[in-house]
Symmetry: C2
């Protein structure tokens, strides 16, 4: 854990240059807009510790799989987020001496990520080897208004000399992925051109053939006025640059404003890319840097209006939660159903593929409650678009007749992962994808989604489950053999309770959904029967037989569901009794030891009770929580949030807050020593859930919002915004009361600790909170 | 399956050049002597399909591990058998036209591996592009008398021209392993020198630093007389050669005799290697090629005297079994306890490391019965030498206090394999290593071995098992979680019956062995108590508690032991009902599908019943055989032999023979389409077992030899030799009778179908066989 970033409500602040942590700060200070993004790298040359990272959404490369021992069914390729052309570069020379903070004395260094207005700012004074001192101030946005562009204002002021300042804004496309399996470069150059103060490079990815044009255009100001200058093009493979030399005097600020864009063939015809890029840059340059910054702030203001969580009395917590919300909004905007939420977003390239079940289990609830319903809907449509691939994927594993298995990790719908115990067996992901459809409809009431897209996906998933179980003559029940549950610290187990439960739920939900569509829209249903080649009687009959005869392991004596068949044969010890030197076990223990231990990586049985909470009474929750949580090591960043929500439900405020804390500042404090690889984007949604579903106790049931809020002891109050259908609500909780502000929309009925309150349009209701309400 | 090799009792014969199968023939025609070996490659240049392979025993390279996803505990390196300098090379040019069978018309081609006398012979007529025809006859041995050397007689006769014949014998050390993980070369050149008709190259392996000097020395004969000639040295990196040009006339045979040696720093001081190599070559050249060939034949004759199996009435079977015996003897001679039996011997480099549990489970019985007991003993001592490494290996997995886990695959005692489900979980190998000690002592009565080496190994293994089981509060028994049994088509299962059984047996045997040593040699025992840091009461108490309380899964109703806890939940279908298009399942099905199927790769429960046959009555065997065999796909070359032996025991002659046939000609007929990678050396021992333990029913119990022979229907008779303690026996079986010849040693009592017969020294006994005796 590190604590070098200043606590501040709206900003992430590095004061003094922490070069040893530079890669961490780069991750944290990443900017993104859903279409492109880059790490908080320096514009000027830096030869110290850095991971240059620029990413363009949807542009990937299928890196040849590397395995020790091949297993049938493994994918040939792992589709990777591509590190793309570096568009922020500005080489700075002073009398032919290059500015490089790795070789300067640096003072007054300050790097600030301003989350309120959405920009990154950096200032410092550098003393070069020659003794010359310059002051630099750089400010950068990755525009969320013009979302294929970014702009930089880079100001240099000589402090103690007059001389020659050479500025060379450049685009460097000669880029490698840090995690390439065979150390290959993934980009080919197609075209490059340089004009006065302007340059373009067109690159094409190998194999996938994506074209990306990256362009730059710049102006130079002195004394706040644009100046005339000469620019000399520099040429190299996959590189464009324009060199400008200026005579400068001490105290005089020279400002370079650089506009850049990244246009990809995902959004333009290849032959138009270059023309479009030129027009794009012309347009934003005409708008100007200050206007872009102002528009950026306005758009962020409108986002915060529906997204913000305000915590009083704990600046670190305030900063942490805003950082999470900020990064989630930077990663995915929901405008393009071809995109999804990578585990590292635009902050790094680790874990390659973009989509995990994190999206459905953790991210959709966030976007549902903070954005237009179209955003969550697009995440669902993304999976619908990939249904054909999921059916092919299931086919590779021997399933047929429209059974679909969604990949563990994917970019374009094809499986990207290659560990048999995960790729082939961690199949509960299929359930989460169905659950997300339920979650979305429950929240939005958009039942039409079922007819339009949902039912096809649900049927593909249900068919998979119906084929994946088998009848055990021995048990006279259906069993499911050889799976890995959410607890990845058990592999290839039989009858993982969570998987069996969600599988059966999927069968029920698919059947009910079919009935619903049939009732709502008989014509569309008839069409779907054709599309799905559905034999209702036979298939739903089979589903029902499984639903009625599924084996769900439990121990009646203990009153708990069993994580899997063999769980009670394990040596059942508690995490608290593990020597500190043995933790984290995933770094200290060999894999077999982890597997046969009782220790749990993340919620498994409890994930099921969380998803399907209305199926279980509070005593069942308590018994299972009391049994499993003490054996849980929470070595996944996705673990604490579910436990935080469940602890809250059980009235254990302290534990709920403790879990929240484990993930809230995960990246800001580099809790797991891995933020240098990028931020844990999807687990940020989990942190948000801890606050809203945990401390706020927010649920939606049968079209109504339910709250059971309490304020953690360390906080004075907290307030969260939620969009629910046509309403925008602000829920402010103190230890004494909860205030429900109905900011937008009609009158609404809200339940607080089970009691209904009517909140009129544009007004608010205050509900007193007593201790008793938490039991 | 291929059928291009001629059937012959003593020879493997390729008639006509089958260039498409050349790599297969190269594997089959490999020569070896336990210290070095090479594939049946051509001496002259061949640019067609070939895998040049020369191997020096004990010389390996730790190739950096390649994995998809790292698991804690994986080894960093995979020690590989090294492809070493090619010493057989002779470049042949005729008037500057190179002889290369890939670019010639080839007629009268014949390649013969003579197993009786131990040489490889090849002859052909080549018509070059120029129309010139030459006849070549090449004969090669890999000396089993001078076991660091080989010799070649290479004769060239112009047929239709007079001209210039250029012969360039060379050694090429610029060699790569075909299966190198990162395409690296593993050898560095240390020294090379050339003298008249002589040359040496000293190479050193990277990382491991083994030095190997390879030398050549040659003579040239015309009209059967050594001639004078000039030799011009050719120089290149890692390469020595001497070029000789001769004027030849049509019909005149020119013979080049080349002697070569491979001396390694495993057997000589590095500084002496070169001198020793020179002396070595001088010595064998003085002996001369014909004498070497004659000595080779003599030594093979003496080997066959104790090894041969004679089958009357089936030439293919006769050839198959002799091929297996021949290759086993070429691979391991038992003189050096640092060496072991690689799965491909000296016939290829696949599977890298040298030692698998195959050695203990399949090879030791062969060497016990066919060679001096020192040979099997050295295989045991090999493991004793690696005990420290096995303890370290167990330590990496969290075991302590002297617990030893022998590696799945090893070269020098370190684990080389990296699949968690195998490396960490296929731990039954540890049991096989203990079982081999039992097997050896049972056969030889060398109980002193326990005191000298055996007990230390047994205690290390027993301690591992005692720590590896855990007490299940639920079952109130000891269980063993997360293992892979011999059936590798189930991974990470709980309570694999075979593993639990052999583990418990190890505890018993270690305890009994300790008592035996204590009784035999109190002083040594006291020493061992020190060495082992043994607390008798506590440790043996714990062993006994486990022995008394181990959980061994069985189904009373079916009357079978359960392969593992979840076995009966599987869909129990039969191999005969599998569509042909689904087989072999390891090529047609994804791994998860294989894992959750009931299909078994090789004997698992039945392996246990085979090892511990006296613990189970015939009905138990029959029920388990009838239950498991029909679900067994035999997709391991080690599977059929055990089933063949068990079928024989059950009186099912036809099935027993059918299983035998599946492995007997595995490589000769390229049954699995993989002989090009090398021969299946260890499974050859299994084939031998099918004959001796299956058809012959040979067992040793309490110091007595038991036989239950029958002759397979297709055969007239078969005879096998066994060495039992001081006796050499020949057992000849026809359908009517069995003849026991006591060839060497004192009078001996032999049991045939349960009845005792006294066989006097140097005489024989004939026992009539009736049908009834087989029930």
């Amino acid at each position: 854990m590190k604590d070098y970033l200043k606590h501040d409500e709206w900003c992430i602040i590095e004061e003094g240059f922490h070069r040893e942590y530079n890669e961490i700060t780069e991750s944290v200070c990443s900017l993104g807009n859903g279409r492109m993004g880059q790490r908080g790298n320096f514009e000027e040359t830096f030869t110290g510790k850095t991971l240059q990272g620029n990413y363009v959404a949807g542009v990937y490369y299928p890196d040849k799989t590397r395995v020790g021992w091949w297993k049938n069914g493994y994918p040939e390729y792992f589709a990777k987020v591509l590190n793309a052309a570096n568009w922020i570069g500005i080489k700075v020379e002073i009398d032919h001496e290059e500015l490089d903070l790795n070789h300067c004395e640096v003072s007054d260094f300050r790097r600030v990520l301003n989350m309120k207005d959405g920009y990154l700012e950096r200032s410092f004074v550098a003393t070069l080897a020659s003794g010359k001192q310059v002051k630099v101030h750089a400010k950068r946005i990755n525009s969320i208004v013009d979302d294929e562009s970014g702009a930089i204002r880079y100001a240099v002021t000589p402090i103690n000399f007059d001389g020659k300042l050479t500025l060379t804004p450049f685009i460097d496309g000669d880029i490698k992925n840090k995690d390439a399996n065979y150390d290959e470069k993934f980009w080919d150059e197609i075209h490059r051109e340089t004009a006065f103060a302007e340059g373009y490079i067109e690159l094409r990815t190998k194999k996938t053939g994506f074209h990306v044009v990256t362009g730059q255009k710049f102006e130079i100001f002195q004394d706040e006025k644009a100046i005339d200058f000469q620019s000399f093009p520099l040429k190299a493979e996959k590189y464009v640059a324009s060199q400008v030399s200026l005579d400068v005097i001490a105290g005089q600020e020279t400002v370079l404003v650089k506009y850049a864009c990244n246009l990809s063939s995902e959004n333009y015809a290849v032959e138009d890319l270059l023309t479009e890029a030129k027009a794009y840059l012309k347009r934003i340059a005409a708008k100007g840097f200050e206007k872009m910054v102002a528009e950026q702030a306005d758009k962020w203001e409108s986002k915060w209006k529906t997204n913000d969580i305000v915590i009083e009395g704990d600046v670190a917590a305030q900063q942490g939660i805003r950082f999470n919300i900020f990064q989630l909004n930077q990663t995915y905007t929901g405008e393009d159903a071809r995109l999804n939420i990578g585990p590292k977003g635009f902050t790094g390239e680790k874990y390659g593929g973009s989509t995990y079940w994190d999206t459905e289990a953790y991210c959709i609830p966030f976007y549902l409650a903070t954005a237009d319903q179209q955003v969550a809907r697009n995440l669902l449509v993304y999976r619908w678009k990939q249904l054909g691939r999921a059916i092919e994927n299931a086919g590779k594993l021997g399933f047929k007749d429209g059974a679909a298995l969604y990949p563990m990790v994917t970019m374009n719908g094809e499986e990207c992962h290659n560990e048999w115990e995960i790729t082939f067996e961690e199949i509960h992901r299929n359930g989460a994808i169905a659950y997300a459809i339920y979650d979305y409809i429950n929240y939005t009431n958009d039942e039409a989604y079922l007819a339009e897209y949902g039912l096809e996906v649900l049927m593909g998933i249900a068919r998979f489950w119906a084929q994946r179980v088998n009848w055990s003559s021995h048990k006279q029940q259906y069993v499911m053999l050889g799976v890995t549950g959410p607890n990845e610290y058990e592999n290839n187990v039989n009858n993982n309770w969570y998987t069996n439960y969600i599988a059966t739920w999927c069968l029920k939900y698919a059947k009910e959904s079919a009935e619903k569509v049939k009732a709502m829209d008989a014509a569309r249903y008839a069409e779907l029967v054709q599309i799905l080649n559905l034999n209702e009687e036979e298939e739903f009959g089979k589903f029902q037989h499984i639903i009625d005869n599924i084996y769900l392991p439990e121990d009646k004596q203990l009153g708990v569901f069993l994580q899997q068949d063999g769980f009670l044969d394990k040596e059942l010890t508690l995490v608290k009794d593990l020597p500190a030197s043995d933790r984290p076990i995933n770094q200290k223990w060999s894999w077999d030891r982890i597997l046969r231990s009782c220790f749990i990586k993340q919620a498994d049985v409890l994930q099921g009770i969380y998803f399907f909470e209305d199926d279980f009474d509070i005593d069942i929750l308590r018994r299972n929580y009391d049994f499993y949580e003490p054996m849980t090591v929470h070595e996944s960043s996705l673990s604490p949030c579910v436990h935080s929500i469940l602890a809250a439900k059980l009235g254990d405020k302290a534990r709920s807050y403790e879990f929240y804390q484990r993930s809230a500042r995960l990246d800001l404090d580099d809790y797991n020593n891995d933020t240098e690889d990028g931020c844990h984007i999807t687990s940020m949604a989990g942190t948000w859930m801890s606050v809203v579903k945990g401390f706020g106790g927010m649920r939606v049931k049968e079209g109504k919002v339910y709250l059971s809020p309490f304020v953690p002891e360390n906080w004075k109050s907290f307030a969260f915004k939620i969009r629910f259908r046509s309403n925008l609500l602000n829920i402010i909780t103190t230890s004494e009361q909860v205030t429900i502000e109905n900011l937008e929309g009609a009158d609404i009925q809200i339940f607080v600790h089970g009691e209904a309150f009517d909140v009129k349009a544009a007004s608010s209701v205050v509900v007193a909170l007593g201790e008793t309400q938490l039991v």
